[in-house]
Symmetry: C2
Subunit: 342 residues, 2 copies
């Protein structure tokens, strides 16, 4: 659930049907030279983000960026990925300049195929574009009785603890796991205090930034409520905000994502070379334990979480998820689902 | 580096040689019926924690707990672990009631053997005791040109965002990766705002707790500096402390650790059944990329991090690590290494 300060005021909202948005988005990708099947996949990734209420990674916020990158030649509309190295449980891929939101689902399916063979599959990828809302890729595994994990090392904007210059991207991490009757778990979060474009989003809707969200240009955490700074006038803080609150943990998590996504793919980290690097892992639950037991246990845990007594002033406890297809859609219009805590 | 408020005042410090501490500790384990080789391993895990400055998980803080658990029959001094399920890349183990700090290194070595065969190895474990400073196990992989990851689902003490009752343990997560000339990376952190026994440690050394570290018994984050509360009068907060600062991310990370450690081992989560559950993963770097290139890139990244200009008022940027054996020991006495940011 987005904090209220990030929601677009009702008067400015433009509501369209998900199906129409999907058609239009796919047509735009095709126009840019993307094959029809890939264009439909890209549209699905973007519209799903909107349907989950993650508008920062949906059509309105990301499509224009991708269009620009296809136009200026940054992205290759017809990539042929290349296998750089492979083992029964692993693969390292060169994405041939393709867009991450199209290559991501394919890389996760490769990880899943490996997991089906040997229990776990891990795929890393260099030389591809933005991965979108990475929970989409993790969720593909959860739809086939696996646990999916996805990470992405992105452009440096986050200052390590005590540092005056950014060294890591917002480096998100996602995990998805299936349940039986409960909505599946889908956790997808930046390892920074707030996601990359929340500052611009706050500026757009006229909100203040809360203490601990960003640092000034010298790397000092800003610990008072303050107006959004202009681009280039601030850096992001790691999750934990300050050393005292635990920013060294957010910093360590960003470092973990960088090692598993960039270095394990044989690439340089974002602080030394531009470009996105990605990590996909699938765990075949049946290789570890009984799948039916796993799903029942997930249900029991998730039910326990959402029926936990709330603290004073709170209405209820949420858990991260769910997925549009697992709940009845409200008339097909883009809407935030109640359990999304991103 | 521990925050100053957690360090034992110099007048109260008792300094002993690491070798003597190791001998005494191993002898105590043997006295409890633990085989000599396992006793030496347990002593190594505990003394290494002290040598890294992680006193919360060293001899003085943990040994008495383990002794009590062997004495009351909670722990089995001569466990025979049982393979519950296995695939080329995976294994699920029943630890037969053995102590985690002894079974942990063995489970990680099993994961490493699998990684050597198929590229990645993942082992989960139920029915065993406390895993100690889990970075120890992750580091075993880093010592053999692999990346090691370790997690542990522990006794509930952490309130999810908005909740009035604890549902997760401090559920730590560790990753270790080798470098060439730079000290290796070892990140090892609780997914809670502060580690489990920091409150008692603060009480012991007479320090106040900082805002955002714990919640009161109703689940409300305590956002003022305040004296440590008595056991049972507070709960831990997830990393991120409050919804506004990002506690939903710390909560999501704790949930991730619970799914990968407990549920993937076929066990119930800590909120429904007591007992520790563990996760061990090893990534064979050579299966993904050139090992020499990986180490050179690690060096370049780590050098860049530690030479990053510091923010005003800070002296330098640290990265998480290193390991006692990789630096010259100061006379063999227990000492905190400067780069430890835990």
């Amino acid at each position: 659930m987005l904090l209220e300060r990030f929601t677009v005021p009702p008067a400015e909202q433009v509501r369209v049907s998900a199906a129409a948005l999907h058609r239009t988005t796919a047509a735009i990708f095709e126009k840019l030279g993307v094959p029809a099947e890939d264009a439909a996949l890209a549209a699905d990734v973007l519209v799903t983000a909107d349907l989950r209420g993650v508008e920062s990674h949906g059509v309105s916020n990301m499509l224009r960026v991708y269009v620009q990158q296809y136009r200026d030649g940054t992205l290759n509309p017809r990539p042929q990925w290349r296998l750089l190295r492979e083992a029964p449980a692993t693969a390292t891929l060169d994405g041939d300049g393709g867009l991450g939101i199209i290559l991501g689902p394919k890389a996760m399916r490769l990880a899943m195929a490996k997991a089906r063979q040997v229990g776990v599959g891990v795929v890393t990828m260099v030389n591809s574009g933005h991965l979108g809302a990475i929970g989409y890729h993790a969720m593909l595994a959860a739809q086939e009785e696996m646990i999916g994990v996805c990470m992405s090392a992105t452009r440096p904007s986050v200052v390590p603890t005590f540092a005056a210059e950014p060294r890591f991207g917002t480096n998100p991490l996602a995990i998805a796991a299936p349940a039986r009757h409960e909505a599946p778990v889908l956790f997808d979060a930046a390892t920074s205090a707030i996601a990359g474009n929340k500052v611009r989003l706050a500026a757009r809707v006229g909100s203040l930034l809360l203490p601990g969200w960003v640092a000034d240009k010298a790397g000092r955490p800003i610990m008072t409520e303050s107006p959004p700074l202009e681009r280039g006038q601030y850096f992001h803080l790691p999750l934990g905000s300050t050393r005292e609150l635990g920013s060294h943990k957010g910093y360590g998590l960003a470092l973990m994502v960088e090692i598993l996504s960039a270095l394990l793919a044989g690439a340089l980290p974002g602080m030394l070379e531009p470009g996105y690097k990605h990590y996909f892992a699938a765990y075949d639950i049946a290789a570890f334990t009984d799948v039916e037991r796993f799903k029942d246990t997930m249900d029991a845990m998730l039910r326990t979480l959402r029926t936990t007594p709330p603290a004073p002033g709170q209405t209820r406890v949420l858990y991260p998820g769910p997925w549009p297809n697992t709940k009845k859609k409200r008339g097909g219009a883009p809407t935030a689902f109640p359990c999304t805590v991103k």
